[in-house]
Assembly symmetry: C2
Homo-oligomer: 130 residues x 2
């Protein structure tokens, strides 16, 4: 299973040597689908295939990888019936994500009534502005 190691506080983070726990968390969360999985698992325990469907049919191989990482990081665990849940620590993480949710609503509102500025859509507009 040739994958990069699960980020953990105390150990050096991918591309870093400091190992500060915040950086480890940012690295862990900054992997595709991780945030989404935590979010979906926070609602209710889910089996593998059902969880996969909730995540817009994400790749099963990556889902397996993410679930392993989350287990190693002690955010998720398997129930006796085989379904996946968040540990108490995992639920904490999800709650910590709450403000992000609220923000995303503001974000959506902001973008709705703000017409794109000339600077943005023409991505190659500014160059060598020294």
């Amino acid at each position: 299973m040739n994958a990069s190691p699960t980020p953990m506080p105390g150990r050096p983070v991918r591309g870093s040597t400091t190992g500060r726990s915040l950086m480890a968390a940012l690295d862990l969360f900054g992997r595709r689908w991780t945030l989404r999985i935590i979010w979906e698992l926070g609602n209710e325990p889910l089996g593998f295939r059902l969880l996969q469907r909730r995540c817009d049919g994400m790749s099963s191989s990556v889902l397996r990888q993410r679930l392993t990482e989350l287990q190693e990081a002690r955010l998720a665990e398997v129930l006796r019936d085989g379904s996946y849940t968040l540990t108490p620590l995992g639920h904490d993480a999800r709650e910590a994500l709450g403000p992000v949710i609220e923000w995303s609503l503001r974000w959506a509102a902001e973008l709705a009534d703000a017409p794109p500025t000339a600077a943005e859509d023409a991505g190659d507009s500014q160059r060598n502005r020294f």
Copy 2:
């Protein structure tokens, strides 16, 4: 610049068709280095190369990509002197990340005094537990 489109509320998200703003946010944040960049820019405006150094020397090509995405998403902008900052919306996002920081501390503490369970380190231990 062959890159996947910047996630935006209202538009379908990568691998999804719902376009809910939360999913867009999770997709945006769930790209490597994005959270880290927001974090670093929240402290102070930074020029390209300095920001790169703050992010453990991340790849310049990816940094450029991320910065463009963040600008399109209106989280970041360029100052007159060429350095990058967070927009007010971007600062909101960073503040929304605050609880995640606090959580990462608890996470570190939790992992510190919790010996690894047999289930974890031997990743290939459990198979076909039907």
